[in-house]
Each structure stands twice: as C-alpha cells, then as structure tokens.
Symmetry: C2
C-alpha cells in the first residue's frame, strides 16, 4: 500500500476502501505519513467527497486511533447528544437534567468552545467547584448513582481527529461534509453511548449555511451512527439568530437554571423539549416524541429537572446553591444596557458576529489555548419579528473592562437590523433525519 496511490485514487474520483482508509488514518496518527501528503489527500476529499460507506470506514479508522470508552458498567440505554455548534445554544445542561430526571442515563463527554461557538465544558466550569475531569470509574459511578454526568472529552479519544483537525484548520479543508461527519461521529462512537441525538444547526451562525448542506451532514451522520448500531436521530434547527437569550459562560448557566425553573426563552425551550423527547424515546422511556415532550415539560413544572441538575452539580463537586443564588456564579464588574437603535421590527441578526462579540469580550477562544473570562458576555431578550422601540433596553453587556464594553455596545449595533415591516420569525425546526428517512418540519 502506498499513500500516493491513495491520493491519486481519491483525486480521480474513486471511492477508497476500508484497507486504504485504515492505512492513511493509522499512518497519519503514527507519523509515518507526513502532513504534506495528508493535506493533499484531505484537499482531494474536499473536492471529490466520500460516500456514506467510505465515511463510515473513515469514522471507524478514526475511532480505532484512540481509546474507546467502555460504558457497559452503566445500567440502561445510554443516550448521547451533540450539537454542531451555535450561539446562545444553551441546550445541553437543562436538557440532560430533564432527561436524567426521567430515567434515561446520560454519560456525556463534551468539548470546549472555539471560534464563535461556546462549549458546555466552559459553561460548567463557571460553577464553583465543578469538576469536568475525573477518572473513568468515578464518571461511571456518578452516572449509575445520580443518572447523569458531563465531563470533558478525554484527550486519548480519537487521536487521529486531533491531528487531522489541526491540519484541516490550516489547509482550508474544514468545510467538507464527510470530514466534519467523521470527526463528530468518531468521538460519539468512541465515547461508548448506545444512541445519539444530533442537533445540526443551520443558518448564519452555524457552520452549515444552507439547509441542503445541513441535511446532507445529518444524513451521513445518522447513517454512520446506524452503521455502528447506535440508533441516531438528527434534528436540523435554526441558527439564524441566537437560540437563547444569553451568550457567555456563567450567563448561560443562569439561563440553563432559568429554563429548569420554567423561565427560559421560548425557542430554547422548544429545542430542549424536542431533543429531550427524542432522547427519552431512544432510551425506551416513551413510545412517541409527543409523549416525551409532555414528560419533559412536566419535569420543568414539577421541579424534578432542577432537582436533578443540583444533584449532578453536587456529584461533580460543584456548589448547587448557585441554582438559587446567581451571585455565587462569576459576575462581571460592569453591566451596560443595550438600547435599541431605532423603532421597528427586529429583522436580522449577524449571528456569527454575535458569537465573535462574546469572544471579543473574553467569553470565548480564538485559539485553542486562549484563556477565557467566565463572567463576561451579553444578554438580550428580543428575537426576529419582535417590535422594538428606540432607546428601549433590549439587552445588557457584561464586562470587566469598560472600554471593551463600550466598544461592544457599538459593535452590537452593527450586528442586527430592524425595519418598518413586520418580519416573520424564522422556523425553529427544519427537518428530522432518522433511519426512517428525512422528515421536513417547516
């Protein structure tokens, strides 16, 4: 076998087989295939794509490059969840509390934020004492005892993905559906769960800018999941505006708790209800999604979700009193009101720009090793289609640096538009992809 033959084969549009795929993933992980050959191959894949079978083979090869977590010590059907990344995408924490509260175990490994998107692990670290790293045995023990735990993804998982992602990042080969799909799914497969719910974001704040691309990505990920006998369901949800009302780490913990108290923003709640219902269904706790949605909603109103959240926080060493006293969370020194620039209907958000604004304030990372400030970010309480009045307060910048805060206020003005005509809110759910096929929802 020869890497040059594999490059030529892909370049000329022929599918790669499992042996070839194993060869280049293994060789690249071990350093016998150099970066410059891998980047040529990745660019050829960017142009020629990979079919579902090839992408599943690639995922398998990547899974084999690192540790595979054994969750067989956890009782029940363990259901995982993944979001392709968005802004104010405060879904995972309240979702997991509500699913676990209803008897489906969740042993989730999450990532940190990068670029304009936030990460669950960063958000959780704003809870004083909360440990995101622990031995595997303790992780399993907590899931068995409490029902759920969320830890930082092990560095030993899918070694190939770390090297390949770093290379893709500097060679213009990030935006390839088979490479994105295998990167995401290899980590999901290696982390050992039994079923997976995927939230594929689409819109100007997502990596996927159009529905067709998002559906293609969802289709291939569902196909990979099922290939590995892990039932996988994907929702395509909107990211043409921030999902929740808060962007920033401790701010999103506050919003998570608000959701569990029945005070969350409506669109965020809808996503949580649907994904949660799907997780309950995959976990065989309900027969239908509608049934699941009712149970998730009940978990909010009867306080079981909030209670479970507190239990998980305590089990992972965190101070659960934050749930009743937000002042125990990291707080920024300054809170600057965001006033509407004119009267009209909110018509447009530059959602990626808003994500970058949070990074500018210090809530996110441009580079993997950047330090972040857990207390900063912003809130706002209007969505597309809402009427706003000139000078009305529509949000708040949270900052520890007044001049940065004032710059953020100016930037914010450029990141939304309003007009005199009433604009319809964009749909929230576009499609659902499962082994049954594609269901268009909007």
């Amino acid at each position: 076998m020869n890497i040059l033959d594999i490059i030529e084969k892909k370049k000329n549009g022929f599918p790669l087989n499992q042996i070839e795929t194993d060869y280049f993933v293994d060789g690249y992980s071990k350093g016998t295939i150099p970066d410059y050959q891998m980047s040529a191959l990745l660019m050829a894949i960017w142009f020629k794509g990979m079919d579902e079978f090839e992408t599943s083979n690639l995922t398998l090869a990547m899974v084999k490059s690192g540790k595979i977590i054994d969750l067989s010590g956890i009782h029940g059907i363990k259901v995982d969840k993944h979001s392709s990344g968005g802004v104010a995408d405060t879904v995972s924490i309240p979702l997991i509390a509500l699913v676990v509260a209803n008897g489906v175990p969740v042993a989730k490994m999450s990532g940190r934020g990068l670029g304009h998107t936030g990460g669950t692990i960063d958000k959780l670290e704003s809870i004083p004492g909360f440990r995101v790293e622990m031995p595997e045995e303790e992780f399993i023990e907590i899931v068995n005892r409490v029902g759920g735990a969320i830890i930082s993804q092990s560095e030993e998982l899918v070694i190939a993905d770390k090297k390949m992602y770093a290379l893709r990042d500097v060679t213009g080969t990030i935006d390839s559906i088979p490479l994105i799909a295998s990167s995401i799914m290899s980590k999901k497969i290696a982390s050992g769960n039994d079923a997976i719910v995927l939230d594929v974001k689409v819109g100007n704040g997502a990596f996927m800018k159009n529905l067709e691309e998002a559906i293609n990505l969802a289709k291939i990920m569902v196909s990979i999941g099922n290939y590995f006998r892990k039932e996988t369901v994907a929702y395509i949800t909107d990211m043409n505006q921030p999902l929740g009302d808060s962007v920033g780490n401790s701010l999103e913990i506050e919003e998570s708790i608000n959701v569990l108290k029945g005070k969350g923003s409506q669109r965020l709640l809808e996503v949580i209800k649907n994904l949660g219902a799907e997780m309950l269904k995959l976990g065989k706790k309900v027969q239908t999604v509608d049934e699941g949605k009712i149970i998730i909603e009940e978990g909010i109103f009867n306080g079981k979700g909030l209670q479970k959240f507190k239990e998980i926080v305590e089990a992972q060493g965190g101070n659960s009193a934050i749930a009743d006293d937000f002042s125990l969370l990291p707080q920024s020194k300054f809170k600057l009101p965001i006033l509407a620039k004119s009267t009209g209907f909110l018509s447009f958000f530059d959602t990626t720009g808003l994500g970058k604004l949070a990074t500018f304030l210090g809530a996110g990372r441009e580079m993997k090793d950047d330090k972040i400030d857990l207390s900063v970010g912003f809130t706002f309480n209007k969505k597309i289609g809402d009427k706003i009045f000139s000078k009305e307060q529509i949000g708040e910048i949270h900052t520890n640096d007044l001049s940065k805060g004032n710059m953020a206020l100016e930037k914010f003005k450029m990141l939304y538009s309003s007009g005199t005509e009433q604009v319809k809110s964009p749909p929230l759910f576009y499609a659902k992809v499962s082994k049954e096929g594609i269901e268009i929802l909007s």
Copy 2:
C-alpha cells in the same frame, strides 16, 4: 496576506492575482509557508486549474525565486529548444549542431533523464572528456566563438521549482497543466534566451496521453513565452512509438552522429528538420519554415552539421574523434539480438514500457540520485506499420549483465505487438501552436 485565504480562494475557483502568487511562491521557497499548506494549494490548483494570466504570473514568481541567466553577451537572436520528454527522443544534439551551423546561436541548458525519459546531459556525458558544467563566462564565450554550447542547467535557477516539483512528486500533483507549464517555462525564461521552440510529445510514451491535453499545454506555454516577450512556437509530435532507433546514452550519441551523416531514422530526421527550420525562422535566418527545412537538410548533406557538432564537442572538452570511431564511446560488454516473435505487421509499442526497459538496463534513473550506465540500452529498426518476419533480427540489447540482458529480451517481447493486418503508421506531427494560433497538421 495569508496563505489560508489563498488556498480558500483557489479552492472556491477564483483566480489568484500576481501579489498572491508571488506571496505563496516566495514564502514556499523561503520556507515560511510549510509543505502541508503548499500541497493543499497545489491540490486545489490541480482541481481548479489556472488561466493563462495566472499561469504567467506563477511562472514569473518562480523565475524570480532563483538566478536569471544574462545572455546579453551573446550576439544574435538566441533560440532555445525544449522537449516535454520521450523515448528515443534523440533530437537536441543533431538539431543544435545543424541550427548553429546555419548561424543561429544556441546557448542551451539541459536536464538529466528521470523515469522513463532520457536527458540530453546524460547523453553528452558519454562523450569522453565532455564537460557539462562550466562557469557562465566560459559558456557565453564558447557560444560566441563556436555558435553553440549545451550545459547542465544551473542548480541556482528557479529555486521554487525544485522544491515545488519534489512536493508535487509525492502529493499526486504532477499532472496539472498549469503546474507543468510554469515549471518548464520558468526554467526557459530564467535561462535567458530570446525565443523558444517547444516539442510537446503526445502518446503512450509521453506525459500527455491525449491530443487535447497536449494542445492545452502547448497553448499555455506559448502564451507564457509571448507574455515574457520571447517568441515561442510549439509542435505537438508523436510519442506512440520511440522516435529514433536507439535508447540509451552512448547509443543515442551514435544515433545523433548518424543523423548528421545522413543515416538517421526517418521520423527522427523529420522532427529535427521541422524544429530546426522553426529555430532558423525565429533566429531570422529564413523567412519560412519550408526554406529552413531545405537549409537544415543541406547542412546534413554538405557535412556542416557534423563539423559543427565536432567543434562544439571540442570546445566543451570532449573528444570529437568519437564522431568517426564509435568504439571510443562507452560500449557494453554484451550485444544480444532481439528477434521478432512472429511474422506480421508491427502494430503497437508500449513506449513508456520501452523507456522503463532502458532504465531497467541501467540507462536511466528511477530516483534523482541513481547512478546510470552510459553504455547500455537497446536499438531496434522497425516502426509501427513495418512488416517483420518471425526470428528476424529487429534490434539489439546492449548490456553489461547477461542475466539482465536476457530478462530484457523477454520483457521486450511484451512491449510491442504485431498482427496480420497492415497498420498505418501514426502521424508524426499533430499540431503547431504559435502566436498566430493552432494549426492542425494531421
């Protein structure tokens, strides 16, 4: 400027401008752009191509990466010649003797053979004493005194091409027309001549397998030459069979001398006459190609070409007595007759296979640093369409290793076919490309 933006731009099909092209060629030559980004860009160029203007810009950027030879000390219009590489492509040496004998100066820098194709410099080195390396001043002095000289291409020329070619060779990006064109033309431009005749080979022994590709390559090279104000004419000639009757280094020197004595093989002579006439025309010695062909032919029959060849050999330190006594050239120990395997009409040559057979015998290189044996190779005196008789001697293997020689005899059998039906000889000239356009010749 950022290499990632340049990769993205090309990947998405937008043309690169001069500033971007200079940036990546200069950065790669100097090592500030790493191999893995360059290989991703080269693969994107492989897929998206480059238009004529981009390719000229790339050529210019490459020229600037190394030394540019100043031939202004040579009187007259200096005309260069380049072949895209073939088998038994014994054109340059007799051609240059004949052109120089007719008053057009030729200051040629040539390369060595690689893979299945031979190189003029290797062939010349089989002449005892012949120096292919010398100071630039001496090179210019010889051209002024004798009319012509052929030396090995300076290592300082087009530094970027050496690095880029080595990278393309291991990343599946050799077979890209703009990359081939800029690689060839950058060296032609940097070597300082005033006009260029290109011989683009097409067929199963050439890099270009089909006429359309060959014409595209010729068009872009002619356009680059003219962009640099060096009038350039390209002929597309056949490489579906070896051009001359000899493959190997000292064997091709013998054939070169035979051509100058009026005893060369017909197809080889035709190419020499046409390219020579074109060079005389570019050098303003004749008005038309037909006029030039008559003068080239006269140069053979009146012995002026052979005389000029001897003068050049002497001027470069070689023993010109070889022209009258081939036993002064490196001779192989064994000469094994090649006998026709059956009676019929010769119908097919695996021309690349024949080139590789010469390499197998030791006449060529698989790797750049391989040692070669100047005495070995093979001759054969039949072309497609010729009648051959079973057991008739149609050629001779020249070897210093009997077992290799016997293996070569067996291999040779697999590298040609004959049949009962008379086959037409393939055309020799397919097209001519010049600033006037494309002229189809067959």
